[in-house]
């Protein structure tokens, strides 16, 4: 069964690149590009894993993460956070709000693939 990945990211080039490498590896990648209705997208798509950017238009990635963890249906979903700010406070926030993994942009494609694979291995 194909694993479904939901990529929540607003930067078109990054969406393009991440979608490409994950699709190439056999994942079903769906994308969403703003923060306003991100949680609805999550519920609608029911993905196996979420890749979540921090700086999103409309709503911060951390807030979205908190909502995911607060919702029974999505509380156990693996969430990989991506951020371009690369500061320790962001890493702390991600941990506190329950991110499964945290990566700083720019990342290597191989790392993203390996992390996604790890997170979805029961």
């Amino acid at each position: 069964m194909t694993k479904r990945v939901l990529l929540i990211e607003d930067e078109p080039n990054i969406i393009e690149a991440v979608s490409f490498i994950l699709s190439r590896d056999g994942y079903d990648v769906k994308t969403h590009s703003n923060g306003h209705d991100a949680i609805e997208a999550v519920l609608a798509r029911a993905p196996d894993l979420i890749i979540l950017d921090v700086m999103l238009p409309g709503r911060s990635g951390f807030d979205i993460l908190r909502d995911i963890r607060a919702n029974e249906q999505t509380a156990d979903l693996p969430v990989l956070m991506l951020t371009a700010r690369g500061q320790d406070t962001d890493r702390d926030m991600a941990e506190r709000y329950g991110a499964s993994q945290y990566m700083t942009k720019p990342f290597s494609n191989a790392d993203v693939l390996a992390t996604v694979r790890d997170l979805m291995t029961p």
């Binding site: 930067e11 080039n13 990054i14 991440v18 371009a84 700010r85 500061q87 720019p106």
Partner: protein, 898 residues
């Protein structure tokens, strides 16, 4: 034959005796066994230092020269003692209640504790006393010389060296007994005792010589009277003015002489002694003068012509071969001289040290020396010793200068007239509350100056200090300023002339200036205390403790000293008294100790007032209250200083806080900026890395994909480069390091150039020109201005969301300024964004169209540099940016641009 050696030996023995007496008296006083020291007889005898060598030797000379005039010298004090005893009593009472240490202290105290006045009186007293000390030295020297002449075997050598030796000996004695201890009330039991002994010796000697002359030489009373009648002395040719003048002068001097003040007021043990002295001292004076006329008459009769009548008392016995009597007479004269010098030196040294040296020393050391109380004592003692030596030395120098030329009596009168200048200020202070400090100062200065000019300086003789010409013709030939005929009053006796003018003008200016000036509060208060001394309580010195007050005292002390310290102080005092617990008997000793302790915390006056309120034995005097008020004022002054300080501190703290807030803000801004930079850099880098890895792997990559991804990588690199350029540009602009390249050019040309540059190849945005004045010429950095225009046009192209985007550019002049508007037809910028849009990295929407968010920030910086501005104009239909250029950069071309 009595040799000079015997005389020297006798003198030395006598001095040793004086030492012994003084020493014994001091010891007795120290051990509290000196009840007999406090007898009124000792007091009366000590007053006899009025009778100096001048009286002992000089009175006879005076009589021999001027007949009965010498009596005036005794008359003055006698009148004072009998008729003015109430003045003396007032003086003594004030001296005790105010703890007066000298006449300078008295006058300064009366006039508001003015140190200036004290210094003036001290100087006056020193100058006035110097001739007198010289007189004593001269008399001792002369008497030695008289013995030397009578002794063919001895030669005395230089007379001045004798005087020097005498001066040194007297200095030593005075230092040894006058400064053995520093008593708060300045009493010298030993010295007073020695003086009393000397008083007896001189009286005894003079009586002995008198008896010898009357019965031994003249052969009885009637023969003596016969000889007196035959002599010139009997002729009553005393001028009335001189008689009155001299009587007045001696009376004034009796009150004002520093040494008289010392024995009469400072050394006084008991006011009641005055009662005895008021009749006993005139009696003493009468005995002293009893044989003056017989000795003078018979001396003139039997001594060879030209013999110094000043020395008849000594030379008569010598002439008659009575060496024993002569030695006794010598000792009498010696006593008179030494007692005067000793007391005068003590009195003057007290004044010098208290009013001149100590204030200067305290000021110089800034009061830091007072930490250890012993320091002050040492300095004070040293000062007194040096002062004593200085005073005696000054007398010696005067003696040398005046070369002993003037007769003894004349020198004495010069001194009298000098110190008499203190009389108006002193008596005025005692009886007239209206007397003021300025008045006293003026009177003293006037009187003193006239005395110096008319009497003291001429006393050295012509051409010593004042030239002969000045004496005869006046200074600069102004005859009415002649020292001996002031204001043209000629033909008077020089002494009476000087006394009249100095006292008259002194008193007049004292009264006049006092009336015209206003006393300070402290002067007023002291004036009341002095004038009404008998109404005030006599007991201010010691405490008398009542019962059951210890607890109140402890309560008060705890408040001031703190509980622990107060309790320890009280329990120690209790255990010293043999009591257990914390409450000692309120004995005078304990109360004084407590007052000292409290003074350390709250100041002397407050401590005194507090204790007296509790103990109640002594009422709180007005002075206490004034002092409390003074201290309170000081504390208030201090606390207002503190207040000012804390105000200053608060201000500094505020400034610091503001600076800190600003720094925090800047630091936060910096963090935000770095985080934004990081974000702006990482995003294109992420794309570049991801796609370059995809390209490198080549896995599952179509050719079209490959081309597309390569393009993305290229675009992102361009974007990164632009971002870096913008950052550098902004940094240069913000730091003010930018160099403006001012050029002149047409506005329309510049706009067209900008539009071309901004449109690029795409050309979707339509540009419309509204009103554009073709003649406007700009003188500014045209390239930078074009950068602003390009940025604004580019923004419109990127962000205008209309279907057919249109940008309208128009210009207008307003108050000389040039306004250029860029208005598009899009949905505009939300109002809440207007404030932040010119900040770094702010974007209208999050959608990325390729800008880094620095463009408008750069525009704003550029316009600031060019002296203009860029802003948003609301409610124009779409986004409306307005660029404003200052008048200085705008001009009108003479002919329309091509």
């Amino acid at each position: 034959m009595a040799t000079l050696n015997v005389l020297v030996l006798a003198s030395l023995l006598y001095v040793v005796l004086l030492f012994a007496v003084a020493f014994a008296a001091d010891r007795a006083a120290l051990h509290g066994r000196g009840a007999w020291l406090r007898s009124p007889w000792i007091y009366t005898l000590s007053l006899s230092i009025y009778c100096t060598a001048w009286t002992f030797y000089g009175a006879v000379g005076f009589a021999a020269r001027s007949g009965l005039e010498f009596l005036t010298i005794y008359l003055g004090p006698t009148l004072i003692m009998i008729g003015w005893w109430w003045t003396l009593r007032k003086l003594v009472r004030i001296g005790r209640s105010q703890r007066i240490t000298s006449i300078a202290d008295l006058i300064s105290s009366r006039y508001g504790k003015s140190n200036l006045l004290a210094v003036l009186v001290t100087i006056l007293a020193v100058i006035g006393t110097t001739p007198y000390i010289a007189l004593q030295l001269q008399s001792v020297t002369l008497s030695f010389a008289a013995f030397a002449e009578a002794d063919p075997n001895a030669s005395l050598g230089d007379a001045s060296s004798t005087a020097l030796w005498v001066a040194l000996g007297l200095t030593l004695f005075t230092i040894l007994f006058g400064t053995r201890n520093l008593d708060a009330n300045e009493r010298h039991h030993g010295v007073v005792m020695a003086i009393a002994l000397e008083a007896v010796v001189k009286l005894f000697a003079l009586l002995a010589v008198g008896i010898f002359v009357v019965w031994g030489i003249a052969g009885g009373v009637s023969e003596t009277f016969a000889r007196i009648d035959a002599s010139e002395i009997a002729r009553w040719d005393v001028p009335g003015s001189r008689w009155v003048g001299l009587t007045l002068l001696s009376a004034a001097a009796f009150l004002c002489l520093p040494r008289m003040f010392q024995v009469m007021v400072v050394e006084n043990e008991d006011e009641g002694h005055l009662r005895t002295a008021s009749w006993a001292f005139p009696a003493y004076l009468m005995l002293m003068s009893l044989f003056v006329v017989p000795i003078a008459a018979i001396g003139l009769d039997i001594m060879p012509a030209g013999a110094n009548p000043d020395l008849f008392v000594l030379t008569l016995p010598l002439q008659e071969g009575r060496e024993g009597l002569a030695i006794l007479s010598f000792l009498g004269g010696f006593s008179s001289a030494t007692s005067m010098v000793i007391v005068a030196a003590i009195a003057l040294s007290t004044m010098l040290s208290n009013h001149v040296v100590m204030p200067v020393w305290l000021r110089m050391t800034g009061g830091t020396g007072i930490v250890v109380s012993g320091d002050v004592r040492q300095v004070a003692l040293l000062t007194r010793r040096l002062s004593i030596a200085g005073v005696v030395l000054l007398g010696y120098v005067y003696l040398r200068l005046s070369s002993g030329g003037a007769a003894l009596a004349a020198i004495g009168l010069v001194s009298f007239a000098g110190v008499a200048q203190l009389l108006p200020a002193m008596l005025g202070g005692l009886f007239w509350r209206g007397a003021t400090r300025i008045g006293a100062l003026t009177g003293l200065l006037v009187g003193f100056a006239i005395w110096l000019y008319t009497l003291f300086l001429p006393s050295f003789g012509p051409s010593v200090i004042l030239s002969q010409a000045l004496l005869e013709a006046g200074p600069f030939g102004i005859s009415w300023l002649r020292p001996r005929a002031l204001f043209g009053v000629d033909g008077m006796d020089p002494l009476v002339h000087a006394v009249m003018w100095s006292m008259l003008l002194n008193t007049f200016s004292f009264i006049a200036v006092s009336i015209l000036s206003f006393p300070k509060p402290l002067e007023r208060l002291q004036g009341a205390q002095f004038v009404n001394v008998f109404q005030h309580s006599a007991t201010t010195g010691t405490w008398s403790g009542g019962l059951a007050q210890s607890e109140d005292l402890l309560l008060m002390s705890q408040r001031i000293l703190g509980a622990a310290e107060a309790q320890s102080l009280f329990s120690k005092a209790a255990s010293r008294q043999g009591l257990s617990g914390y409450l000692p008997e309120p004995s005078p000793d304990f109360l004084q100790e407590l007052e000292r302790e409290l003074s350390g915390s709250v100041g002397g006056a407050t401590a005194h007032a507090m204790i007296s309120q509790i103990v109640g034995g002594a009422t709180v005097s007005v002075q206490d209250l004034m002092a409390v008020a003074d201290e309170t004022a000081q504390i208030m002054e201090y606390s207002s200083q503190l207040e000012a300080k804390s105000e200053e501190l608060a201000r500094t703290a505020r400034q610091l806080r503001a600076a800190n807030t600003k720094l925090t803000q800047i630091s936060e801004q910096k963090d935000t900026f770095l985080s934004q930079i990081s974000h702006e850099l990482r995003t294109p880098m992420t794309s570049i890395r991801a796609f370059s890895e995809i390209l490198r792997d080549g896995k599952g990559l179509s050719e079209a994909d490959g081309e597309k991804y390569s393009t993305i990588i290229h675009d992102e690199t361009v974007r990164l480069t632009r971002l870096l350029d913008d950052l550098l540009d902004l940094s240069v602009l913000e730091n003010g390091q930018v160099v403006l390249n001012t050029q002149t050019g047409s506005l329309s040309d510049l706009l067209q150039r900008s539009v071309r540059a901004a449109q690029g190849e795409e050309g979707q945005l339509e540009i419309k020109y509204g009103q554009i004045d073709q003649n406007i010429v700009l003188t500014t950095d045209l390239d930078r201005l074009a950068q602003v225009f390009i940025n604004l046009i580019t923004n419109a192209r990127k962000y205008c969301d209309a279907k057919e985007p249109v940008l309208t550019i128009s210009t207008q002049r307003q108050n000389g300024q040039l306004i250029i508007d860029f208005v598009d037809n899009g949905s505009g910028i939300p109002a809440d964004m207007h404030a932040v849009i010119f900040e770094k990295f702010s974007r209208i929407s999050h959608a990325r169209v390729g800008g880094a968010g620095l463009g408008l920030a750069i525009c704003a910086e550029i316009m600031t540099r060019l002296g203009g501005s860029v802003g948003i104009v609301p409610a124009q239909g779409g986004s409306a940016f307005r660029v404003i250029l200052p008048p200085a950069t705008v001009s009108q071309a003479t002919s329309p641009a091509a």
